[in-house]
Amino acid sequence: MKLLHIENLSVEFPTHKGPVTVLDKVSLRMERGEVLGIVGESGSGKSMLALAIMGLLAPNASLKADYLSLNNQDLMKLTEEQRKLFVAQNASIIFQEPQTSMNPCFTIGRQLMETIELHGIRRPKKQKQRARELLDAVGINEPELRLKQYPHQLSGGMNQRVMIAMAIAAEPKLLIADEPTTALDVTIQSQIIELLLELNRSREMGLMLITHDFALMSESTQRVCVMYSGQIMENAPTESILENPRHPYSRALLDSIPHIGERHHMGQRLYSLKGTIPAIDHLPVGCRLGPRCPKAAKECVKPPRLEKIDQHGLVRCHFPLEKENQSEGSSQ
């Protein structure tokens, strides 16, 4: 029973310089109730992936996929309308900025009840009842008062909780959280993540946690997909990646966080990336990380493929890092 199954999903945007590919043949799977992490620098296409799954891409974007199924339903076989309905019932999404993700002109109550109504509860009294339950479930007190308030009257963390309440109103099987804590205070961040994980456990709801912060992933996810420039660079269980990242990019991401992994006790970074993520319409030939990669060699001008590494996962690199790399670390 796959919750999410994506094969070779590509998304293109037309620009006046020709089409740009913001997602390049992305494939991934999620089991029911799984927590999957997606990491990558900003601009690597994480949000595009989320929007593509939800069918929320701008109308000028073109989406291609060999296979795209949610909750065992092949989405590519549905009409636009059917797809919209099906996705709305089976998946939800919350965004980075809780303040702007809610309509500033409507009260929290109205927006919650609108969602509830869309999922079949017609009687206003019951809608209100359900709204109160949902607010309770996400840990908001004084639900009666909150229902009457407008988004700008609540704090960021509180708004994100409301967004989560709205997202779980449909009892979705998949919740995509696109950088849900990036805009929040550090103290609030862990509370929100806790809440998401708690809901994931109690409701058997799959969670796709998107972030550019590896630290956030480490404790909460079972698998991690590392994305760069619209491609998946590495896809492996969280533990293996934390212990032994095989892709130089994953390694660099890990190394950029203090306090994770033993190698930092040396106080030096092994893999720091020079430069910035390339513009999507000016990609390097071959491996997209090439110009920034400390291990780049001649061969890297040929595009690497996503290949399986035993007892680990999938890695897109001509020269994947060795398994026992602590020795390498101490030798430098």
């Binding site: 929007l51 939800m54 929320l56 919209k84 309905l85 996705v87 709305a88 019932q89 939800s92 999404i93 965004f95 900025e97 702007t100 993700s101 809610m102 309509n103 500033p104 002109c105 409507f106 009260t107 609108e114 969602t115 869309l118 008062l145 308030q149 407008y150 700008h152 009257q153 967004m163 709205m166 449909a170």
Partner: protein
């Protein structure tokens, strides 16, 4: 809310004081004997003349004169027309409903079609629909409406014979002015003419209100379009889509509700544009409103009417702007205090 109300009230009082000062000063500039300007042809030396002289406080200081002027204005005494000898206030209010009826109808047309066109253009951004709306609103915005009115008369009234050329109603109908609003008065006269008079009044109203609506419509369409484009790219639209809200509801409820906020401000500014347009439209269509009345007063050098009329119109515009500001605060939840 109370704070906003107080602020508006202060602005209102200040503006009113300012306007009256300006008008009082202007009155000093008007050439000729102030007594004659105010009361028509009185012969100097007669008792009447002397009384009037006293009443205007002309033998006293300018400050005194201004205070007398203010007192009169506040009591609703704006003097008498030197031509008809009627009270200016009364005369203004006999013509005012015609202008209001015309303007209301025009703003209704402008709102319905302007908002509609703006939303359509925004939803179909960069398509031929969008281009059509953009270019027609640019033309509408640039339109000399006095010419536009003549053109429509030429086409619809003279060539096609579809609409009447001038006035508010054919004179075969004898409608008693109860409210001053022709559409209502013709309905009140229902037993006499059934709906015939109402239709006739409506027919008279269409062409002038279309002409008057042209510029505001263009402005509203442009404004709605850009506001909608901005709103439609907001995150909460994505949220609504993800929830499965229908496209129709997303556009006309979620997005439009937000786009209306900047629109209200534009609407306030349009009240002045509308009254300017009314002067021209009423002249072209021989529409018996305050605009036409004012222009005639100028040709007749009827200074009390000019002075009183402009004062009243200015107060009216200021009142509308204050209302719009309140409305803005009312429809924008972000203006509300955090609780």
């Amino acid at each position: 809310m109370i704070k906003i109300l107080l602020k508006q009230l202060t602005i209102l009082i200040l503006s009113f004081t300012g306007i009256t000062i300006i008008f009082f000063s202007l009155a000093q500039l008007v050439p000729g004997d102030p007594v004659i300007l105010h009361y028509g042809n009185l012969t100097p030396g007669t008792e009447q003349y002397e009384n009037a002289y006293q009443e205007l406080g002309l033998d006293e200081s300018l400050v005194r004169q201004y205070l007398i002027f203010i007192k009169d204005v506040l009591q609703g005494d704006l003097g008498r027309s030197t031509v008809t000898n009627h009270s200016v206030l009364e005369e203004f209010f006999t013509f005012f409903p015609a202008t209001i009826e015309l303007s209301l109808f025009a703003i209704l047309i402008a709102l319905v079609f302007g908002v509609g066109a703006g939303v359509l253009a925004a939803v179909n951004k960069n398509t031929w629909i969008d281009n059509l709306v953009i270019s027609s609103s640019l033309i509408g915005y640039s339109m000399p409406i006095f010419w536009w009115g003549m053109l429509l008369i030429l086409l619809f009234s003279l060539n096609l014979g579809l609409t009447p050329v001038a006035g508010r109603i054919s004179f075969v109908f004898d409608i008693e002015p109860v409210t001053g609003f022709m559409l209502i008065d013709t309905l009140l006269a229902y037993p006499k003419y059934e709906f015939a008079a109402f239709y006739d009044a409506l027919l008279h109203l269409i062409l002038p209100s279309v002409v008057l609506a042209t510029v505001p419509l263009a402005v509203i369409a442009r404004m709605t379009r850009s506001a909608m484009i901005e709103v439609l790219s907001a995150d909460y639209i994505l949220t609504a889509k993800a929830k499965g809200v229908s496209n129709f509801k997303i556009i006309w409820v979620h997005a439009l509700r937000n786009a209306l906020i900047p629109l209200v401000t534009v609407l306030g500014l349009q009240s002045s544009v509308l009254l300017t347009g009314a002067i021209l439209t009423e002249t072209i269509f021989a529409w018996p409103g305050v605009g036409k009345w004012m222009v005639e007063a100028i040709f007749r050098r009827d200074y009390p009417s000019i002075q009183g009329g402009v004062l009243l119109i200015a107060v009216f515009v200021i009142l509308i702007n204050a209302t719009v500001d309140l409305l803005y605060a009312a429809i924008n939840p972000r203006m509300r205090r955090p609780e």
